[in-house]
């Protein structure tokens, strides 16, 4: 057998990947394993404890009405993904036309993606302020007073307000990915479709969209990561999970349980359920996307 050092000398990139793999194994999968282990213990104060209690924490989680509300809200947030993709696709199609100033519009649409989530929350808190926020002011000025509601101060519209803010922030990224995908399609394929008399709609449907499978997949994964991040970073400073608990999400519940109340094992159980939910969504989608390649 060849000596390992020779393997690395002949394929030096293996060494780099090995270093990265070890780091990821420890900091990502190792920590997930640690969290799974913690969720089966009685560690529910600030003092670490490792007595095994089986599924007691999970049983308590599933009987907690706040968990189900938080789960529902977290799943609602995933609506941000198709909405961002849809708006991103629309913007990408617009920018794919040969218009003057397309580059400037692209920067404007992309800029929100650079904002901190806390800043986004503050901006949209002002925009949605019931008394004199921009949204209600505009609605009232065009005679749509009926729609000028409480937004994030109202339990029936708080999640809608949050979703709108997230779509505003993440659609620019989707626009960028999809536009890059469109620009990589060979022009002759588009010209060939045009020469056969295909309409613009059929060209996008039959030629462009099928070639955007990978940018769409990338956008879905990245936006999902940011949605899960925003489920705490955006919501906690903005609504605090309120009004009441109407915008509580699983990440907020994890932090509240594990750190504020020092119910570490309970919080770990909620976190593991969140990971499982995300995997149940992402794994089938990735498999479906790569099927047949």
């Amino acid at each position: 057998m060849r000596k390992p050092t020779l393997i690395f000398l002949r394929n030096p990139t293996l060494l780099i990947f090995l270093i990265l793999f070890i780091l990821m194994l420890y900091f990502v999968y190792g920590m997930i394993a640690w969290n799974i282990r913690a969720s089966f213990t009685d560690w529910n104060t600030a003092v670490p404890s490792s007595n095994f209690v089986g599924f007691a924490n999970y049983s308590e989680v599933f009987q907690d009405s706040l968990f189900w509300q938080s789960l529902k809200n977290t799943l609602l947030l995933f609506l941000v993904i198709p909405c961002s993709l849809g708006l991103g696709l629309f913007l990408a199609i617009l920018l794919n036309q040969k218009v003057r100033g397309a580059r400037i519009f692209m920067i404007i649409y992309l800029m929100p993606f650079a904002f901190s989530l806390v800043v986004t929350g503050k901006v949209w808190a002002w925009m949605f302020a019931p008394d004199n926020g921009a949204v209600n002011t505009i609605l009232r000025s065009i005679g749509l007073d009926r729609l000028a509601g409480g937004w994030y101060t109202d339990t029936s519209t708080v999640m809608l307000s949050i979703i709108i803010a997230m779509v505003w922030q993440f659609s620019g990224y989707c626009m960028l990915m999809l536009l890059a995908g469109m620009k990589s399609i060979p022009q002759k394929e588009i010209d060939a479709a045009k020469s056969k008399g295909a309409s613009t709609f059929r060209i996008y449907r039959g030629v462009v969209l099928p070639r955007l499978k990978i940018p769409i997949l990338t956008s879905v994964v990245v936006v999902m990561i940011f949605v899960l991040k925003a489920a705490f970073d955006l919501i906690r400073p903005w609504t605090g999970g309120g009004p009441g608990t109407s915008s509580y999400t699983l990440p907020i519940m994890v932090v509240n349980e594990a750190y504020a109340k020092t119910h570490v094992a309970y919080g770990a159980a909620v976190a593991n359920i969140l990971v499982a939910v995300v995997l149940c969504i992402i794994i089938p989608y990735v498999y479906w996307s790569y099927r047949g390649r």
């Binding site: 030096p12 270093i19 600030a46 302020a129 008394d131 400073p237 609504t239 605090g240 504020a260 119910h263």
Partner: protein, 450 residues
Amino acid sequence: MKVPHVLIVVVVLVVAIAALLSFRSSSPPPPPTSGDIENIINDYQAGGSLEVDHWWTIDVEELGFNVAKNGMKNQYPNGKFTPVPVPGGAGGGMPPKILPQLMAGQAPESFQSHPGYEAATYEYYLRSLNDLWAYDNLEQRTTELIKRICKIGDNFFIVPIGVHRANMIWYNKELFDSSGITPPSGPITFDQFWALCDELENKLPSGKYVLDLGDGMGTTWAATHVFETIMAGLNLQTYEDFINGTVTAEQLVPVLENFKKFLNYVPSDHLARNWAEACGWLYTDRVAMYLHGDWVKGYFKNRGWQYGVQYGGFLAPGTSGSFGLVVDGFVVPEKADYIGNGLRWVHSYTTDDVQREFNPVKGSVSPYNDIPLNIYEDNYSRESAQSLQNPSTKFYPTITHGIAVPNDVLFDLHPKISQFVLDLDVEEAAQDIAEIVGRGTYTISWDIAP
């Protein structure tokens, strides 16, 4: 494409150097033993780092913190002071930041906490400060109750820096004057308070409100603050039972009924404002009164308002002779790198100079009885400081600000109160809150009812 060997060597070297640099190049000094406190405090040339985590991030609070910081730097100029602001009033943002660090043994040299149950949460990770309390004679300098709540078992774990009073209603003088109403100058009952609110409601112009809540933008605790103040005003026995974990739903019904009445005078968009923005509404003549702690004085002072001129305050209904105790302080973790700097920090702000400058800026009163009353600019602060030192004052420790109940009760209470503010279901809230309180693990036995 083959990667050149040189690049491989560079990558490996960079990773190795980064790994080495992640360990400190010089070992921090060994943690001081308990017999060293005099040497530690008198080491005015001490260097090393001092990281202090705090939640005083809103403008005037930061001004107060900077006074304490400058006091430290004046006394110990060679240390590298790094303040770490952790937003989230009433300390709500601190646990997720500090607990992982404590568990990992990577604690800062000091962090802000409230005494009582909040500091007790971290007891396992904290250094006992008995030697510092003895060295600075703090037991003789502060009140019995403050001493008691700063102690967990036989050890002092926190050093107080300032005291706030929770049970105050602040009012806009201009709105009262223009309504032809004289603000209360003495004790006020609940019936008198509701009559005042009704009169203001009838006389204030449209778009101006009687009260605000300031429980928005993530500061749901402001609603809990109002709840506890109403409870203390109605019945201190109920309050005592609450913080001892034995309160019943029946006892909570009248509290919630009065809270519901309070909310009738609050604008419907109260969730659009945190406590500072609610102060802003009072400052801009949008709201006539605001029930909140006296840290709001710093907010108004920073905007050029003078107590007794543009605004005033009176004790919340039913709380005459009572003092809702909110104590701010800092703790020193066991496993910080430069524990000596942590000890020097908590010592530095108990000194005369820092106390004299800090409290007027922050809007608090000194927890120490050797600070003269003439440092306070207005009658309110002087009277508050006198009340603090008066043995006949009825103190009740705050629930909202971490002293009186365990954290797992408090952080279940906030969303429940927030839910009550929305649906106003007194019976359901009373049952749920009694259940939350009953689930807690209580290690402090309170005796506050007369």
